[in-house]
């Protein structure tokens, strides 16, 4: 059994990865505001966690202007999806007593 993923294990980052991997790989991702609502994090807190995930290569962050307003969109990378799936499998294995 693999061990826990130290990056994803943190609760806010776990919620971020859960939200992003719930989308199909072909979808655009989620914007920052929506992620903030889903994770219950503050702006600064979420930004720091996204930086952490991006440095690990688990998410791709893109910034653009939509209707003259800045919009940050976050998408799970294939590497992030695989890491999240491994972490969830690890948690399920603990519950199963393996």
């Amino acid at each position: 059994m693999d061990g826990p993923d130290e990056i994803i294990h943190q609760p806010i980052r776990l919620r971020v990865m859960a939200a992003l991997t719930a989308l199909d790989p072909g979808e655009d991702g989620l914007d920052f505001t929506r992620l903030k609502g889903l994770t219950g994090a503050t702006d600064g807190n979420l930004g720091a966690h996204l930086d952490h995930l991006a440095r690990a290569g688990y998410v791709e962050v893109s910034k653009a202007f939509v209707a003259r307003r800045p919009r940050t969109t976050v998408k799970a990378s294939p590497q992030g999806r695989a890491a999240f799936a491994r972490h969830v499998a690890f948690l399920k294995a603990i519950i199963a007593g393996m």
Binding site: G3, L14, R15, A22, L38, V88, L91
Partner: protein, 182 residues
Amino acid sequence: MTIGSDEAAAMLADVDSVVAKVKQSRIYRSAALIIMLWGAINLARDGLIALAPGWFGPRWFLVDAIGIAGTIAILSRGATAGARPPMRTLAAFLLFYAFGWIWADLIGDFSPRQQMAFWPTLFLFGYAVAGLWFGPAFTAIGLGLTALIVATYFWSGAAFPLCMAVVTGGGFILCGLWMRRA
């Protein structure tokens, strides 16, 4: 790092909760566009009936046909490449219209005023029931707009068609905007 089974279960429950919210949000966003389309259709249909009741009154279904085509187009656009056309949606429309026709025309012989109130509430009943599976916003829209239509039916007097245009048209558009943000 040591993780107990209670902590693991709590984390998985957290994951499930977030995934459920994302899925519901996707359903709401695609439904919102269809609801706003029907807002425009209701506004046009009831507005035209208010302006030319003699001609549009018996031909309201022509405007509804545009709404059905638009709904199918929106669903087809959102479907994955190569997916079959949303025939179940078309079948659902046909069932609703057939059921409504049996009661409004065949058995009930409803008056024009009763017809105008009956048809949207028939579909809103579908929204209210769908909410039990797809999210409470559908039920809120179904029950809320039905209450407004019933109030309009009893208290709008001679301005009923115009009031219906505002209630069903504006109501659906506002509900669609609200659902897109929910």
